[in-house]
Amino acid sequence: MKLAARYNRINLGVTLGVLLIASAAFYFLLHRILVHQLDEDLEIEMVRIQTYLAQHNRLPDDGLTVPDMMVRYERTTAPMEGERYRSLVMHDVAENHTNRFRQLSFPLHVGSAQYTTYVSKSQESTEATLRAILRVAAATVLLMLAISTLLNRTVLRRLWKPFYRTLEKVKDFQLGGEPLSLPPTRTDEFRLMNNTLETTTGKASQDYRLLKEFTENASHELQTPLSIIRSKLDLIIQDEALTDAQSAHVSGAYDAVQRLVHLNSSLLLLAKVEGGQFASVINIDVETALKEKLEAMSPHIAAAGLTVQSDLRSASWSANPALSDALLNNLLSNAIHHNREGGTIRGKLRQGRLTVINTGSPRPLSSEGLFTRFYKANAESTRTGLGLAIVRQICEVSGFEVAYRFENGTHRFSIAWTAEPSA
């Protein structure tokens, strides 16, 4: 739930509660005041009657009664003590229907006769006043609720705008890309948030850049010693007096250097791809590129005893030429090296999708780990474990989707891209 909606809900609930309680209190208070006023009127009437009785020593005539008062005398043998106020429903003779009345009863002594006097006054007008007041109060409450909801909606939305703008920017933020630049805001909290975000991402970017530079520099620095080792090996094998055992040692050293060279160039490629050093993009005929690549790899494929089945149709993608080449290279070389003797490689190309299917290990590979760096399906592999990481990284910067599936004992790697309508 949105913060604003949540706030609105709480706000609405509390406001409603407070208003209800206030209305109830208001109602009772008002009721009491009005009743009290009625009671005072009744008391005045009582005093008038008592005064009349004291002066004339008889009960007043009906004609003397105040118009909206009803006075009734009831002879009694057991006179009441003191006065009593009460509310009751009675038949209103004047209006000919039942009504709520306020009644004051008090004892009267006319000579020896005992009376209980009932003075009643209709509460109708009082209640009408109350109802009117309550209606106004209810209308005010509703109006206030409506206005506050509306205000919350528009004002809150406007107030929170910088927050959503910042969120949008942060979502698009990429390490190694443009530095995060957030729109200015006058709200202190948002300004604080923006400043903090800018500082944190700035620092992360800087660390990332340093790390990348480090990788790149380290790779470059490694090239020269590797060159020296390799050149020395090249010189050692010129010696005709080398024994077979020495030759075997040198051969082992050659292979290790080759692996290091490959590892190093893979790391360098990854660092450069991440660093966006392959920005220029052109339209590439994937079918031709793939055919050339398969041709170039044919000695490796033949040496591994593999057969290739290709089902290629014309397709193209937009990518950096060097990356496109590295992508196909790593994808195919993965299919060759993780195959089995006498296995197959099937390439299927359609516009928007390239699938490379190879036989190999009978068990599915971890599709999670597969594309991470230095992933190795079997521990003794002499491969760098960077091939598929490179594939994924290239796909990422080129806007392609790479996926792995294990189906019918085959490993399927597919790359999907958005085909351009013109192609």
Partner: protein
């Protein structure tokens, strides 16, 4: 043949000069920018092996000076940087070739030989080795007068061998030369054997002596049969 090696890493410079020096050329070494500049102003070289990052300056500046002075020395740039920009810049400044570290000495030698051939004979010409005559312009190989029908890979291989005559070339170097991009990872170089076998057979069929000597477990050596 005179080759200048401009390289600040003494060990690498000595390897190169030893490899090139033993068969094909006299080598001189300049280990920093000023001494390299001094040497190219005073002497003419058939080929300069030029490292880009040097103490005291950039190899590219040396290349520029060289071209400004109107020198015709061939230039092979060797660099630790594989970036396309560097390569394009080097070649635009007039370098003849560009090789990325770490390279095999045999690769370097083959490229230096190719540059020297181009420079000293003014382009299309014939390269001879014993009874082999190769028309570099038309890419035709003849044994005496008889043409040998070679595939492109076999032709490449032959030139590579001749550029490294008398040297043992490792299988990895050959694989790297012929299939640069895919020879990484596992060291399975068995497939080069097929190409060498075919080349041998084709040459032998025209009555050519067997120049290709297998060095057990290591590689091959192209030489006149003793």
């Amino acid at each position: 043949m005179k080759v200048l090696i401009v390289e600040d890493e003494a060990e690498l410079a000595s390897s190169i000069s030893q490899y090139l020096g033993s068969e094909m050329a006299t080598c001189e070494v300049a280990s920093d920018y000023p001494s390299a500049l001094e040497k190219i102003e005073v002497y003419d070289y058939d080929c300069i092996v030029l490292d880009i990052s040097l103490p005291g300056g950039s190899g590219l500046d040396i290349l520029e000076t060289l071209k400004q002075n109107g020198k015709a020395d061939g230039v092979l740039i060797i660099s630790a940087k594989a970036s396309l920009d560097d390569r394009v810049k080097g070649l635009q400044l007039g370098a003849d070739d560009y090789l990325i570290k770490p390279f095999h000495l045999s690769e370097l030698a083959a490229r230096v030989a190719a540059i020297i051939r181009r420079k000293s004979f003014g382009g299309a010409t014939t390269l001879s080795f014993d009874v082999l005559h190769i028309n570099l312009g038309e890419k035709i190989v003849r044994v005496e007068d008889e043409a040998v029908d070679l595939t492109r890979k076999e032709y490449d291989l032959l030139l590579y061998f001749i550029g490294n005559k008398g040297k043992v070339i490792s299988k990895g170097a050959i694989a790297g030369h012929l299939w640069a991009e895919v020879s990484d990872g596992v060291a399975n170089y068995d497939f080069i054997y097929t190409h060498i076998k075919n080349l041998r057979h084709k040459l032998a069929a025209k009555g050519c002596p067997d120049y290709i000597q297998s060095i057990y477990g290591m590689g091959y050596k192209f030489r006149l049969p003793s």
